[in-house]
């Protein structure tokens, strides 16, 4: 698998995503600076990592979503390349208009770093096939703005089109519909707040995150 991790000023989980993809599926991973304007067409996966791009200033992901590399991300989304946005990456995908809704401040108004048990609510997307009949997955969240919000019609649409991929068993931040991760209509863009890049090996506490990468190998 050939993958690219986009690095924005302020991204800090870029290396974690590289190591996770390499460990889980022996991926060949390239780091791409946000000022570049080309992403090669033979890429199997583009990862938009977690972190505090532009310090999370103004709105999380707002400034990153207007970076020079953004046009290429939109182009790849259009042509069907798999795109995985984790934490800040999910926020960037929403700001860029590739996924519906937005991530507001946690209802506790506090940054939360804890393990969360997830429901794999749709296990036949290209990102979750490898879960098979394992319906639960343990990962960690680490964010201050993980409170997913969209208007009621959008939430209904996401439910009806079975585009909610992960839900929190115990909602840590007030997310509507306990939503932890959603996918776009075409099924090639996944945004999720929990970190599979921190749950890819037993010594880190869980390796349930590895399945997100393993699923893509079955594509």
């Amino acid at each position: 698998m050939k993958a690219a991790v986009i690095v924005y000023p302020g991204s800090n989980c870029d290396r974690d995503c590289k190591v996770a993809a390499e460990t889980a599926v022996n991926a060949d991973v390239k780091m791409v600076w946000h000022k570049e304007t080309h992403l090669s067409d033979d890429l199997d996966l583009i990862i938009i990592p977690g972190g505090f791009s532009y310090g999370d200033y103004l709105r999380c992901g707002a400034m990153a979503s207007v970076s020079p590399i953004n046009a290429e991300i939109l182009r790849h989304a259009e042509r069907g390349t798999s795109i995985l946005g984790i934490c800040n990456g999910f926020q960037i995908l929403c700001e860029a208009g590739l996924l519906e809704g937005t991530l507001l401040r946690n209802n506790s108004l506090k940054y939360i770093c804890k393990d969360v048990m997830l429901d794999v609510t749709n296990n036949n997307t290209r990102f979750t096939k490898a879960y098979g009949n394992q319906t639960k997955a343990m990962m960690t969240v680490g964010n201050g703005e993980g409170n997913y919000f969209a208007d009621d019609d959008t939430i209904k649409l996401l439910e009806d089109e079975n585009r909610i991929v992960f839900k929190y068993l115990e909602n840590p931040n007030g997310s509507k519909g306990d939503i932890a991760g959603i996918i776009n209509k075409k099924g090639n863009v996944l945004g999720m707040m929990p970190h599979p890049d921190r749950a890819f090996a037993k010594e880190l506490g869980s390796d349930d995150g590895a399945n997100v990468f393993k699923s893509l190998m079955q594509l």
Partner: protein, 80 residues
């Protein structure tokens, strides 16, 4: 030239911060507070003397970056 762009969450959009501040005000004894909404007051200093042009550009900035039109509304005011 100073321009002020106010960005607010649209009605119906959850405001966790506003709700928490309202709660805190109640615990401090300000029971008359019914609701609190918190938005951004962005003050721009621009090298532009033509008021109309400055305003138009500020609107463009709001649409391109300063506001997320899905969940936010904005107003632009030239302070001169």
């Amino acid at each position: 030239m100073k321009i002020r762009v106010d960005v607010k969450l649209k009605n119906g959009v959850l405001d966790p911060q506003g709700r928490a501040v309202a709660h805190a005000l109640h615990t401090l004894g300000f029971d008359e507070v019914a609701d609190v909404r918190i938005g951004k007051a962005i003050e721009l200093e621009v090298n532009e003397t033509d008021k109309e042009k400055a305003k138009a550009r500020a609107v463009e900035m709001a649409q391109k970056l300063l506001a997320n039109l899905v969940i936010e509304s904005y107003t632009v005011e030239v302070l001169g």
